[in-house]
């Protein structure tokens, strides 16, 4: 009898322990879970990460510090930051955002790929304000400030240290004379059509016009706007929006018997009278072929 009671007591103790454990877990996971503060940008929701990338690209457009932009992108924990930038640019275009909004992302993707800034750092004039110099004062003393609704989509992995990198790059002067100087075209030099190949491949979409844009070093260039016009319309697109096919790649599907004019917006290159070529398969059946247009900066 006594041993049964003792056994029951032990069971009661075990039962109480389990009830307590369950109650503790329920409280700590459901009622009062750990509250996160000091989160890392890598934990952000996907739309906030998008916003973060937009702001990184916008800041880079103002201050082309590539190392800093890269470090900021790394905070987001993307496996391939360049691919993410390109994919986001595509999503934004598909969502109807303007080219101007997408361009900084494409430019940053291009610069990260090529490893240097397309546009050198230029001093930007600070705006002149009529108001007195700003002071870091308490908001209570300021004019009631508006609360803004966040409408842009975007943004920032745990416990990685974040280091500020210098905003301006270190310039190391060297006195080593250069024996020769070869002038090269700048990043904004016009693109010239250097290749126009007919592509007869029945496995490809009919009338596919592919573009490849290269800089003077034959590196593919993303973010170059191309305008295709024909008698009934116009289409605009950028290179680099299909990074899996190359950062300087873009394409457009032509209709048979339609004449197209091509304009590369950067540099103003213009190629008129482009038509889809006719091809014949091994069985003698005619079909609409494609074109590969290669543009390069001098």
């Amino acid at each position: 009898m006594i041993s049964r009671l003792a056994r029951n007591t032990n069971l009661h103790i075990l039962f109480a322990l389990l009830i307590g454990l369950g109650a503790g877990l329920w409280y700590s996971w459901r009622i009062s879970p750990v509250t996160y503060v000091d989160a890392n940008p890598a934990l952000l929701r996907a739309d906030f990460k998008d916003q973060y990338r937009i702001v990184i690209a916008a800041a880079y457009a103002a201050n082309p510090d590539l190392a800093r932009a890269r470090e900021r992108l790394n905070l987001l924990g993307d496996a391939d930051p360049v691919a993410e930038l390109s994919a986001q640019a595509q999503r934004m275009l598909a969502a109807g955002d303007s080219f101007e909004q997408v361009r900084p992302l494409a430019n940053l993707a291009t610069d990260l790929t090529q490893g240097f800034a397309s546009n050198p750092i230029a001093p930007t004039p600070f705006p002149t304000f009529n108001t007195p110099a700003a002071q870091a004062t308490s908001a209570a003393s300021e004019t009631p400030a508006p609360v803004i609704e966040a409408t842009e989509t975007n943004l920032p992995q745990p416990t990685t240290s974040f280091e500020q990198t210098p905003l301006t790059p270190l310039i190391i002067e060297t006195v080593t004379p250069r024996p020769t100087f070869t002038p090269t075209a700048g990043p904004g030099a016009p693109f010239a059509l250097v290749g126009q190949e007919t592509v007869c491949d029945p496995s490809e979409p009919a009338g596919l016009m592919r573009f490849k844009l290269l800089d003077s070093r034959r590196n593919e260039k993303a973010g170059i706007e191309i305008v295709v016009t024909w008698d009934q319309g116009e289409d605009r697109f950028f290179t680099g929006l299909k990074p899996e096919l190359g950062h300087g790649y873009a394409d457009f599907v032509m209709q048979a018997d339609t004449t197209y004019n091509i304009r590369v917006v950067t540099g103003g290159s213009f190629v008129p009278n482009i038509v889809a070529p006719g091809c014949t398969d091994p069985n003698g059946v005619a079909y609409t072929g494609g074109l590969l247009l290669t543009f390069q900066q001098p």
């Binding site: 307590g20 409280y27 700590s28 890392n40 870091a136 400030a145 609704e149 210098p166 905003l167």
Partner: protein, 118 residues
Amino acid sequence: MSSLNIIKILIALALGITLGLAYGWIIEPVEYTDVPPNILREDYRVDYTLMVAEAYQKDFDTDTAARRLAVLGSEPPATLTSAALEYANRNSFNEVEIQALQDLLSAMQTYNPQGSAP
């Protein structure tokens, strides 16, 4: 049941609760993903604000700057920028960065979303 046994049961209950809380808060706390930017660590928030300020230096677009700052929380954009500027001053940011934040603060202090800035 003796009072001793009742005490043992209560102790077991308390021990269970303690173990449960320790496990739920320390060993295996709730993991957050998809968090909003308002719980970013202060240095990340400041860097984000600095990026907005740098972009503002180029386009002087107060609407866009205010909209970008709004993702950091419900505080007014001037308050967010002011906090970032204080952090920048405390942590020896360089002159260019502090100037950019000051310019953004000036813009946000006079920003009126209903109309143009005065």
